[in-house]
């Protein structure tokens, strides 16, 4: 996975982003269009038919309350994907703004912002999330903001590192010499060059947010039942592991596929961006 092992664009690699994007599209279609083709109520409880195996009436069986697993998987996917994408975008926005401030402000502003990013990176994010969700509850909005607010640091660092290396390039020096404000230099001359980096960061951010949401919901701190999410479906599954092991399989596989697809898209963009003839790009991390 390290950059140096990639022997260049091969046919397989060229087909990869299409496949990963198609995978993401399929998952989204499953969650958002699926319920149109399969209009079963995910909340309908049927206590006479709990933890049943697959049948024509319930293609993926029923859960511990007799609810249809396929319908819950679709509706849970909506919640998980919406929270994941929204939180990923919050992290991207905050990270870009703070990373930008850390490279375009006056000397001490840059230094303070840089320190803050480093310090925030050392915070145990999960426990900050515990505090936040305890105080504000697990509404979707709170969840999105809390996950986004604890995941921007890596992006800010990335933006800062790239912007610092770009800053000495001729066209930027020229723009500054023309008397453009730091903000306009950042927005018009630096930001466009960060697009591949930000695209990678966005996919990684969404993958991270999907994982975090699922963990929080699994623990009972995220999406609240009876509303399904892939994470909280697994809470019930663990309690019924002996009778209905398949309940633990479907939501887990859905999460893994989503994260894999996001990471694969990001990885491809990254490889393609590094393959461009840009000699200054650093290649010292994974």
């Amino acid at each position: 996975m390290g950059g140096s092992s990639n022997p260049g664009p091969s046919v397989i690699r060229a087909a990869f982003p299409a496949r990963a994007l198609a995978g993401l599209g399929l998952l989204a279609a499953f969650a958002f269009l699926g319920p149109l083709a399969y209009p079963v109520d995910p909340a309908a409880i049927d206590l006479s038919n709990i933890t049943a195996g697959a049948s024509p009436a319930h293609p993926l069986g029923t859960d511990e309350s007799g609810r249809d697993v396929l319908a819950r998987l679709m509706h849970g996917g909506r919640v998980s994907l919406v929270v994941g994408v929204a939180a990923g975008l919050v992290a991207l926005l905050v990270g870009t703004v703070i990373g930008g401030i850390a490279t375009t402000g006056s000397g001490w502003v840059e230094s303070v912002a840089g320190r803050l990013v480093d310090a925030a990176m050392a915070l145990p994010a999960f426990f900050i999330l515990l505090v936040t969700l305890t105080l504000f509850g697990g509404s979707t909005g709170a969840l999105v903001l809390a996950i986004g607010a604890t995941a921007w640091m890596g992006i800010a660092r990335l933006v800062r590192a790239e912007a610092l290396s770009l800053r000495e390039r001729d066209w930027i020096v020229a723009a500054r010499a023309l008397g453009k404000s730091p903000l306009s230099v950042f927005a018009r001359h630096i930001l466009p060059h960060l697009v591949p980096t930000l695209a990678v960061a966005a996919t990684v951010g969404v993958a991270h947010a999907v994982l975090t949401e699922s963990a929080l919901s699994f623990l009972g701190l995220g999406v609240q039942p009876p509303r399904p999410s892939w994470g909280n479906m697994l809470t019930g599954a663990q309690l019924n592991l002996a009778q209905a092991p398949w309940l633990a399989v479907y939501p887990g596989v859905a999460i893994v596929l989503t994260v894999l697809a996001c990471n694969a898209v990001g990885e491809t963009v990254r490889v393609r961006a590094t393959a461009l003839p840009r000699s200054t790009r650093r290649r010292d991390g994974p």
């Binding site: 390290g2 515990l130 887990g252 010292d284």
Partner: protein
């Protein structure tokens, strides 16, 4: 891409100055945590009064509010709250009716055991594997481990735990499904059997991350310019690796470990819950579910302090491993 800030490694003044800087950074981290916590308490619906146990009577609540100084202006409260923290007074747990700080310290060793073993196992796995794979880029083991890593980073920790329980504990009955010991049986073997699954689950994503770092930094070291003269001096491959490649590769790996520690303690919270492990993380989840505000905050602060101390310890190793820091002393 991720490195410790270059300024600290290149700072003049040697190891002492370096460590002082890093300690200053640690204090900044702790200040961020306390300030964020303070802000969250005051921004929460109901304000700081949520810290008073809802089960108390009106008179008792008033008394506690006065004791907590909630009637004071916010800046005064901010200073006072920090003074209380410095004395280790984090209030009482609603759930347990004990001093929150002491309750948290009670559970800390169990979590340290889990996290420490996972960290040690991951490093022990990642370093040799990274060295091995870096010398064989594109070979089948390199591709295989690359694919495994890619998958490992996409698996939610708790789900991996559930699947491990499902197969190894429920189906094959090889290992216990949770807890620290079997009641009535306190042998070392029994304890190890209980440790195996949680440590493995916690170590999986960490190992994946560290193997990638170790591999790419050794690979970078193998093509570095200083190797040619060393090779010309006639150093054998093993010696070359040890003295000129591994030593340099260690630094980014250490940095990666430092960055992973806060993520690792988060993973511990999930792992502990899945495996009913009586540690800090599980306590934190219980406290959060029970809206036990003082306990949740005590846990967040103790975890943050532990992470800061762990990072300082890593900085000591860093100072030892990076001669640039010592030479300037």
């Amino acid at each position: 891409m991720i490195r410790r800030p270059a300024t600290s490694a290149a700072a003049p003044g040697g190891l002492g100055r370096f460590l002082a800087r890093r300690a200053g950074h640690g204090i900044l981290v702790l200040w961020l945590v306390t300030t964020a916590t303070f802000t969250l308490i005051h921004a929460a619906p109901g304000g700081p009064a949520v810290l008073a146990d809802p089960k108390l009577t009106e008179v008792e609540r008033r008394a506690i509010e006065r004791r907590l100084g909630i009637d004071q202006p916010v800046p005064v409260q901010y200073v006072r709250w920090h003074a209380n923290l410095a004395r280790g007074d984090l209030g009482n747990s609603f759930l347990y009716q004990t001093a929150a700080f002491a309750t948290v310290l009670d559970r800390l060793p169990n979590t340290l055991l889990l996290v420490g073993l996972a960290l040690a196992a991951s490093i022990a796995l990642a370093l040799p594997l990274g060295v091995y794979l870096a010398q064989r880029p594109g070979s089948w083991p390199d591709r295989l481990i690359g694919a495994v890593n890619f998958a490992a980073l996409a698996i939610p920790t708790f789900w991996f735990g559930i699947v491990a329980i499902l197969i190894l504990a429920a189906r094959w009955r090889l290992l216990p499904a949770g807890g620290m010991v079997t009641p009535g049986e306190a042998s070392l073997l029994d304890r190890l059997r209980h440790l195996l699954l949680p440590v493995a689950v916690l170590a999986l994503p960490l190992s994946a991350e560290l193997i990638r770092f170790a591999r790419s930094s050794v690979a970078a070291g193998l093509v570095a310019g200083h190797l040619a003269p060393a090779r010309a001096r006639g150093l054998v491959r093993r010696e070359l690796l040890r003295r000129h490649v591994l030593r340099n590769a260690l630094l980014p790996v250490l940095t990666a470990v430092g960055l992973q520690v806060p993520i690792l303690v988060g993973g511990a919270a999930v792992t502990e819950t899945v495996f009913a492990w009586p540690g800090l993380g599980r306590l934190g989840v219980e406290a959060a579910l029970g809206r036990d505000y003082p306990l949740v905050m005590a846990i967040a602060l103790v975890v943050a302090t532990t992470v800061v101390i762990a990072n300082l310890a890593l900085d000591l190793v860093y100072g030892w491993a990076d001669p640039r820091i010592r030479v300037r002393a």
